[in-house]
Assembly symmetry: C2
Homo-oligomer: 409 residues x 2
């Protein structure tokens, strides 16, 4: 289906007609790096969101959930990096509301048309002076090619900005989907819902009603952002927002062939960004795909794959170029997945390292060559059923420890 | 109850009358360090064990489980470090059996009176020549003060040997309980059963039947070894064996006051060693006690405490002397435990850092002083019920990564 869409060079949320964005230095970050972004739609956009399932959901998450539950149409999203506005109680919620109201006033839109997202240190109250300064600068800076500036302003420990866009032909017309994301640590799938410490803002000029938008976003999140893990932690602030302004005139209806194509293109953008988040994971030097195949159930395959993906012993072994299939077997074994260990095979990039629960007899040097690569796939075949699952993981390096012992989020 | 027992200086399994031990250099370790231990009872001892719940249980674990299920009385335990004999299929099981048989022949005891335990690299077949050499040296070296030698021979990445013993007065007579343990990584509680990557061998001269022995060992393991976590991984080889030779003449009967005292003293030895395992955790610089109190159920308290204890973000923050209660709150929040975030308080060594889900207003410098210490307690009060749980955790340092990226277990 990939001949139906193509990635746009330097694509971003503003690759989509009708959207503007900006990224400015408001003053949250001591480094003086951009830390305030604004995303703006010329017309009211249908919207959907998926959020952290953490019980300590941050104030902007609570605010957005409530906004979307009312079926709000959005004109703008205000994003700051530096203060998470999480564990901030009622004053925090008030700050999120006030941020939306200030932005609405400056932009001349309704206060219920503005979403808010934050990332940064937990437990600190929002600094409204910096928010005001951010808006002062970001509103006049809005530009139809500002998406990449915005993608830089939402970074925290990210080392590179992450944005993408695809153009997809639907029923003869062109639809664009653009997106930007941040997230490099506190990234984990593994529970119900979305569990990556991340912010992601997706735009499209397709016309899609809220319910269908939400359905497609949730299902795609399960197959992209929910397949990645960096450290097994989950954030208080995870937010994915999808805005559809309808500017292309292409209407996507539930159950149609067009909906399938749109969803596929949307997934391509989300997977592209998910993959880049793992590659830019804190201290990460490798992208490791874990596939568990022929399990008794999807739940078993998922438990097993995520257990390997989150095993600190596996992740440090990969960093050390150590294939160490014994640690992989151990992680499968304690995952809680039901399978027969005596039937289990493990291969690394096609090279068998364990067969039927024992040493495959492959020379270790050959396996070392595989795990030395910056990307490789570990395939665990249970030969015990018909259900598969996969996740993307990273290694854990000295730099991971350095970043997280030094960076006071 | 602690006035009923006292720790013996330099205590070990051979502090208990009727037990001998030795630790020798058989040749498993390239470093030339001791790597083979033998524990011997002058008379047949009642025995109980708890083992890993990993599906890839190592050959010696499978062997011992089968042995104990037949109610075997033990005369000896053979332990090697360097090869785990895990994921080794039928040849591995045969090697475990042969090791027991060889030892039995050398010691002049029945082959069904010898247990076996291994730790080291997974996936490598046992080297029976080295086992034979080990027995050749270890049998004549058996000594009634060899417990500390044995405790050194079972070490892998441990930096210090770990042994202990207590003397306890029961009904006017003296009973001794001795133990040694190894384990520094691959340590995790969190599932049913015992989940610390560890070997532990406990001796006593009390007379306790197998069933009561098993009951006490399992319950105490839940409150000691199953309360510790270093890296969240679980081993294929976890083994705790308890041997009771009855030499003291003191008979412990189920439901008696004597049984309570014995169990309490046994727990003291097990907790002493559990604590020292965390302190000697790979690269560990701190022992952190996580208490979750006033939860809706023990299950909720356990989920929450273990989530904090295993959070890589919390563990790296502690290493960096960063109190970072926001990361603690996040880990509680994504744990799956049900609680009201707006009622949750967090304190560090009695210093409130979060109250009712928000900043307690304590100066950060005061909290930094707390987490700078080599031991501190994080108390999370849900104010939501009457159930508590606690675990011991460690921090994650550069050295953890170094040890596990370099050491090819």
């Amino acid at each position: 289906m990939s001949d139906l869409f193509e990635f746009i060079e330097n694509g971003s949320p503003t690759s989509v007609p009708g959207f503007k964005a900006s990224g400015v230095v408001a003053g949250f970050k001591r480094s003086g790096a951009p830390d305030f972004a604004l995303l703006y739609s010329d017309t009211p956009a249908d919207a959907a969101g998926v959020f952290t399932t953490c019980r300590f959901a941050a104030a902007p998450v609570r605010y957005c959930r409530e906004l979307l539950s009312r079926g709000a149409k959005l004109r703008a999203v205000v994003i700051n990096s530096g203060i998470a506005n999480a564990c901030t109680g009622k004053p925090g919620l008030e700050a999120a509301r006030k941020t939306a109201a200030l932005a609405a006033a400056k932009l001349g839109v309704g206060p219920d048309q503005v979403a808010v997202a934050s990332t940064g240190r937990i437990g600190t109250q929002m600094n409204m002076d910096i928010i005001a300064r951010g808006l002062e600068l970001a509103v006049p800076a809005l530009s139809s090619d500002g998406g990449n500036d915005a993608s830089r302003a939402i970074m925290t420990t990210d080392t590179v900005p992450k944005a993408a866009a695809v153009k997809v032909k639907i029923g003869g017309a062109a639809v664009t989907i653009g997106a930007m994301t941040k997230g490099a640590g506190m990234i984990n799938p593994g529970l119900a819902g979305l569990h990556a410490t991340m912010l992601c803002f997706i735009t499209t000029d397709a016309s899609v009603d809220c319910a269908l938008l939400a359905e497609m976003l949730e299902e795609n999140a399960q197959n992209s952002f929910n397949r990645i893990t960096v450290d097994g932690d989950m954030s208080t602030n995870d937010t994915v927002l999808l805005l559809a302004n309808g500017a292309s005139g292409v209407v996507i209806r539930k159950g149609s062939a067009e909906a399938e194509v749109f969803k596929e293109a949307l997934l391509a953008v989300m997977k592209n960004l998910a993959r880049r988040m793992v590659k830019d994971g804190e201290g990460s030097t490798k992208l490791v795909t874990i596939e568990v195949v022929n399990a008794r159930s999807t739940a078993d395959a998922k438990l097993a794959a995520e257990s390997v993906a989150n095993s600190l012993l596996c992740k440090t072994a990969w960093f050390g170029n150590d294939p160490n299939w014994g640690r992989i077997a151990a992680a499968l074994g304690y995952s809680g997945a039901v399978f027969d260990p005596d039937k289990c095979d493990i291969s690394i990039d096609g090279l068998p390292v364990m067969t039927q629960g024992g040493d495959a007899g492959t020379p270790e040097s050959a396996a070392v060559e595989k795990v030395k690569k910056s990307e490789f796939t570990i395939r665990c075949d249970f030969h015990d059923g018909n259900f598969d699952y996969w996740v993307w993981s990273s290694d854990v390096s000295y730099d991971y420890v350095k970043i997280n012992a030094d960076y006071h989020t």
